[in-house]
């Protein structure tokens, strides 16, 4: 047991700093996105931050051994709720993705990513990725939520999950040749996937390939967001001065497309600042992972970093028009309680890893994760 004073002392200050800076930048940007309409959203987001930070600090006090023990129940609950979505889920924005828990709505697909990372870290803590059992189990554990998510249908999240699971396999030491096999399988299955895709998904991909083909329909989002970003120029139009955002040409400007608000009003300078902050933040998580004392902790950090990286790159990529539109939030900036709270909770785990790695020799081989 580590005393609570010691816990606080061992917290990684750099991670805290990056989180603080990202949080401030995020809330400032969110205010710009909602200040003309519902500022209540901004206040609610502040409340989510408070809740998330409470959870974050709470998790900092939970030993990783217990976290590892939690990984199975969290995974099972997440998968069950995911399975329930088609039956009792609520439809928002044309897709059935939400569960109503009375007090608030949660998005099971949001939670299952983190749960899978946790479980895969736990799975590989005591197994070699190259062993048939290790690999087979991991593939099975990953496939269950992926299938449910594809059924929802939420192609973006499914791809994120697949990519994150592959990253875990990679970190756990799966030999390179397996990735070659996987890539070939994926290429072969592409036409099959295309045929099974929903019309709106195909439309999104087509409109991504040529946004001008349907400027008022599916391509509208991307056209307007690239206009927003580009019109910001190097120094931006000034805080709260973005015409694209202020006059509502920019769709979903407080959620998935919030990056365009930041880029329009803050210009290239602030966009780069955000990219740099994200880079430092991700890098810090990897550093913490590399210094971790157990294989479980290392893998957890890598899984979490992977998800953050995917969120950041996919979101900015789609808003700036280089990736198709998939519903992915921009970490710490987009409005949304579920996403923010789970992200902060996962960072709590990372912080716990930092707390528990006390300068001893890092883990050397797979072993009992609870040891």
């Amino acid at each position: 047991m580590i005393a609570w004073k010691e816990t606080l002392r061992r917290m990684d200050p750099m991670l805290l700093l990056y989180l603080l800076l990202l949080g401030i930048l995020g809330l400032i940007t969110l205010y710009a996105a909602v200040h003309q309409g519902d500022t209540g959203l901004w206040k609610r987001q502040c409340l989510y931050w408070l809740l998330g930070l409470v959870l974050f600090f709470g998790i900092c006090f939970i030993p990783l051994r217990s976290v590892a023990l939690f990984s199975w129940p969290v995974y099972i609950i997440a998968v069950i709720s995911l399975a329930l979505v088609p039956w009792i889920g609520e439809i928002q924005m044309g897709a059935r993705r939400w569960l109503n828990l009375g007090l608030f709505h949660i998005q099971p697909s949001e939670i299952v990513k983190w749960a899978l990372m946790l479980l895969l870290a736990h799975w590989f803590a005591s197994r070699e990725a190259s062993s048939l059992k290790g690999l087979g189990g991991a593939v099975l554990l990953s496939s269950i939520p992926v299938v449910f998510i594809i059924m929802q249908p939420d192609l973006g999240t499914a791809l994120v999950l697949l990519f994150a699971a592959s990253a875990m396999l990679f970190a756990a030491g799966l030999p390179w040749r397996w990735f070659t096999y996987g890539l070939i399988t994926a290429l072969i299955s592409l036409p099959v996937m295309w045929r099974n895709m929903h019309a709106y998904q195909k439309e999104r991909i087509l409109s991504f390939l040529n946004p001008q083909s349907d400027p008022l329909g599916a391509g509208y989002h991307v056209i307007q967001s690239t206009i927003s970003i580009g019109s910001g120029g190097i120094f931006g139009k000034g805080y709260l001065q973005g015409t694209q955002a202020r006059l509502h040409f920019l769709p979903e400007q407080h959620t998935d497309f919030i990056f365009a608000v930041l880029a329009e009003e803050g210009g290239l300078v602030i966009s780069i600042l955000l990219l740099v902050l994200y880079g430092l933040f991700l890098s810090r998580i990897l550093t913490i992972g590399a210094r971790a004392s157990t294989r479980f902790s290392s893998l957890v950090c890598i899984g979490i970093a992977t998800i953050f990286m995917l969120y950041i790159c996919i979101n900015i990529g789609m808003v700036s028009g280089v990736l198709p539109v998939v519903g992915v939030p921009l970490p710490f900036v987009s409005y949304g309680g579920s996403a923010l709270i789970t992200m902060l909770a996962s960072l709590g785990v990372v912080m716990r890893v930092a707390i528990e790695s006390n300068g001893r020799i890092p883990w050397q081989r797979p072993g009992n994760p609870l040891a």
């Binding site: 990253a167 990679f170 970190a171 030491g173 307007q224 690239t226 206009i227 927003s228 970003i229 580009g230 019109s231 910001g232 120029g233 190097i234 015409t243 694209q244 006059l247 509502h248 040409f249 880029a263 210009g267 290239l268 966009s271 780069i272 990219l275 994200y278 880079g279 991700l282 890098s283 990897l286 992972g289 590399a290 290392s298 890598i302 970093a305 992977t306 990286m309 950041i312 790159c313 900015i316 990529g317 700036s320 028009g321 280089v322 890092p362 883990w363 050397q364 081989r365 797979p366």
Partner: protein, 590 residues
Amino acid sequence: MNATFRIRHRFERRVLLFRGLIFLFLFLLFIRLVNLQWVQHEGLLLQAEQNRISIVPLLPTRGEIVDHDGRGLAVNHVSYQIQLIPERVADMKQTLRRLTHWLHWDAARLHEVKQRIAHSRPDHPVLLDDQLPWRQVAPIAARLHELAGVDVQAGTHRYYPYGALTSHLVGYLSMAGPEDVRKGILPMEKVGRAGAEKVFESELHGRLGNQREEVDARGRRVGVLQRQPPVMGKQLRLSLDVDLQRAASKALGHRTGAVVVMDVHTGEVLVLLSKPGFNTNLFITGLEAKQWKKWLNNPHRPLLDRATQASYPPGSTFKPLVALAGLRDQAPIIAHGTTCRGYIELADRKLRCWKKIGHGHVDLHKAIVQSCDVYFYELGDELGIKQLRAEAELWGFGKPTGIALSPEAKGLAPGQSWSFRRSRTWFRGQTMISAIGQGSVNATPIQMARFTAAIANGGLLLHPQLKAGATPEVDRKIDVDAKNLDRVRKAMHGVVTEIHGTAHAHLWRLPWDMAGKTGTAQVVSMPQDGSESNSSDKHKDHAWFIGYAPYKAPQIAVAVLVEHGGHGGSAAAPVAAAIVRTLAQKEKQG
């Protein structure tokens, strides 16, 4: 130990690779952002500006048209229009039902409105109804909060207070067509289509303004960035005198015809009336095809401006011109006179005088005063068709007067006709008929008025002016001997004042001394047996009167035509009398 080291080593290598991958991705995003925010900045900024700025044209208010005394002939009335933005309407059925109730739409109109809504973008306003008076939009304006998406807007529309009385002169407007749009006029603007509205379009129209507005994604105006106000069209004061126009119209009554009154010194047109007229206000409220067809098919042809667009045989009103030609040529008959026996024999046929028993001995004065046809047959015969033609063209016959209203008929001077130029068999008889203003002679009322004015002012052929105070333009100073002109004037005075004058009975107790000439133009050739054939209106003679007043110091020249009116003295002269009385009274009062 070796194995664990290898595992550890591989892990660290892969973490490093992973870190590299993250930086690679972030770097790619960085490049994309540099591309958008630096390289493509200007183009995208322009697109953002195009998004938010909409340039809204501000329509100018059209200049008003007033008469000589400043009374409005074409004015702007405030009216209201109803618009609807489909996507903001909560319950379209209910909304349309309520609008139908207040605006009294019938089923066809409602259907048309529905079609218009169906065919327009849901975020753009659709014009539902236009030119509405306040009392009709008031109940809607009061309930706008219940009618989401409906909007009432104020504007102006053209109103012609005198309607049919001034229809041909003032004209009317209609929506700009494709040709106007090519000239830079906006499709929602209105353009003069006839009369003064068309002639003075460039002055009346005014200049378009514009407003740069900031709009949001739904097209709603958020603010005004820049405004260039429209320039109102100039007010146009016509030389027309509504009092005289009304007097002329009243005197004509329901008869078809035309009246032109011209200032003999300036050429200003004081009256330009063509009857029947048409209610130009119907054009403004969207002329229905039915009404248009009705006008087109009306046998009285209300759309035709008889004062300028129609020419008629001038009949005896042509005689002063023939007399002037005779005087210029010193024709033998001028010196000796002739004897009228009621007809003249020419080869196998007889040309008749209107007075069957004949006028006895006739000189020029008597020939004009009593309108002796035989005298003019002989004078015409002596002059020949070429002389007649030369004199007629000198006084403006056979050519448009150049009045700004178009298209203007040019009439026909004697010997100008196609049949004369082409046929080798031009008979003496045809020349003689021309000399009494029949056969191949045609003139428009505006030509007759100008001719009369030229007699009154000493031979100045004036350009007819529509604007008040316009500088007089003399088309031609006619080379005419003052003594000759005076003889004709005296004879025309005699027409009115002498006991045997053809207009005497119809023009007594005039406030002003007047000179004139009546004309009774045959519509069909005079029957050989001399019997009257005025049984049907269609074949009844056209009645003419030309004149000027006051005789000693002429001010106005008048030309009156009554289609199928019968005798010039009884049908047309009283119209001129009404005008002179009105004018004299106005002068006395003010």
